[in-house]
Point group: C2
Chain length 297, copies 2
């Protein structure tokens, strides 16, 4: 997916959010903004939003000297996810269709995304926003055709390559992955190679016990989404040979929306640009199969 | 009021909105964004938001060659105001305290501001948003102490200098000014010297019949707010000698919040930066007397 003009002001806003996460020094915050502003005119029109996101968030780390500005909120999110885990598992267990419920929970968990700035309420709390997202998703529906296509592809696959997105959300991913494992699937869970906003890294996967369920691998990149040109050969190999890829979140969608692979995108729509691109409203949880023919054009 | 770091991404967003009002050409829109991005690192920390707003919107007009990008929405807003005028007048007439009701209507009308991007609903309609703003304001209260201070100052003044803000809103201003005139006050209504976002100019004042009620003068400036250093000597003279100044909107507040004159600010809070600055929530209609001692520090 190509960058929209709307993304340019948003990079400035993201840079300011990230700078504030990293430092209380207004001079350093301003320095970050100025450097991002100078970079914006150089963004080529065929860049993807995560190409630019990678540059912006590297710059924040470089200017502030803080290697992982979102470390604190990532830990908070993971702890919150683990706290809610028993209740969410109960919902899946009591459900008529546990796989569908687990998909909805994993999609709803994608609200914990510090890119588009919707993950916290006015009091800085993630929990209320997350609970609203669960309530909405569990009451709502997923597209039935997409869900049928997903079940069909899953039945035909022995292995699932699962592209993780955010901390906290990873506990919801664990719930979905437990359903996949229960159905005899081998799961490879992919994390970022280094901190990128509040995206999951190896440390988060360990923290929430993902390694007991799935093979956890990194993609070798610090882009806030899957930028194939930036990923490790090991990841590319797994990606090229995968029978089914579950791609979580907007960032992975931005990087892979034009890639002809057997991907199901699962995410919560959180910005007007993505809403326009995918034809859904902000707040919707979307499960969407990659349309290979369309991409092949 | 000094520029906040949050204003910098917002200037980019405003520039994009304005560029889209002026042209459908994405290359010109991108050109505007790139030029604004290059300017942002040069914004001094003691600039006011309207210093920068003036530069941004001049740049949009220069790059696109469109002298008044908001001409169409200004006309639409004025027509909408005139359509609603009889109903609003009726509310004032039926009211126990017509002056208070007229103040609330004038404050609520300040929602028609194309700077902060809240003036239209998802369907591009202003009317629904404006009606909600009236309902909210008429049900709500103004600060009683501020209102008492306003009435006291008004009683002691023969003349009122009224700094207008947006098209459409100007019809609500007319309703308040009719109450002032009824109380024997002479009113000077001030418009911008040239187009600035959707702010009122002489043409708008004529269009809504303001000249039949008040002496209409321009401030000689194309800043989207009152930037005294940019105003005409005639305006400065009227401003310096005024007994009571009613300053409508965020832009006039941004320019005058540190100026020791007998000003009552009247506006709807529409952005988080102003909300923080003034200690009110977004959506509130605020009537606030200039605190001269505080400013004098």
């Amino acid at each position: 997916m190509k960058v929209y003009l709307d993304c340019l002001p948003c990079f400035m806003r993201q840079a300011l959010d990230a700078a504030r996460m990293a430092t209380h020094d207004p001079v350093a915050q301003r320095d970050v903004l100025d450097r991002v502003a100078k970079l914006l005119p150089m963004v080529p029109i065929d860049a993807t939003p995560i190409d630019m996101g990678q540059i912006v968030h590297r710059l924040v780390r470089e200017v502030t000297g803080v290697a992982d500005p979102y470390a604190r909120v990532k830990k908070e999110s993971n702890d919150l996810g683990l706290k809610l885990y028993p209740r969410l598992k109960q919902r899946v267990r009591m459900s008529e269709d546990p796989l569908l419920t687990a998909l909805k929970i994993a999609g709803a968990g994608n609200i914990i995304d510090f890119g588009p700035k919707l993950a916290m309420d006015a009091n800085g709390s993630i929990e209320g926003v997350l609970n609203d997202s669960f309530t909405q998703a569990l009451r709502g529906t997923l597209d039935q055709d997409q869900y049928n296509a997903f079940k069909e592809r899953l039945a035909a696959s022995e292995e699932v390559l699962y592209l993780g997105d955010n901390a906290g959300e990873i506990v919801c991913d664990r719930i979905l992955i437990e359903e996949l494992v229960k159905r005899g699937k081998e799961v490879i869970f992919v994390v970022r190679g280094a901190p990128a906003i509040n995206d999951v890294t190896l440390a988060d996967a360990r923290y929430v016990g993902m390694e007991r369920l799935a093979t956890v691998v990194t993609n070798g990149s610090d882009a806030p989404g899957t930028r194939l040109s930036d990923c490790s050969p090991q990841f590319i190999e797994a990606f090229e040979s995968a029978q089914l890829i579950i791609s979580k979140g907007q960032g992975n969608f931005e990087g892979l929306s034009d890639t002809p692979r057997p991907i199901f995108f699962l995410f919560k729509v959180k910005c007007p640009v993505i809403a326009r691109e995918i034809g859904a409203r902000i707040g919707a949880v979307v499960l969407k199969e990659q349309v290979l023919e369309e991409v092949a054009k």
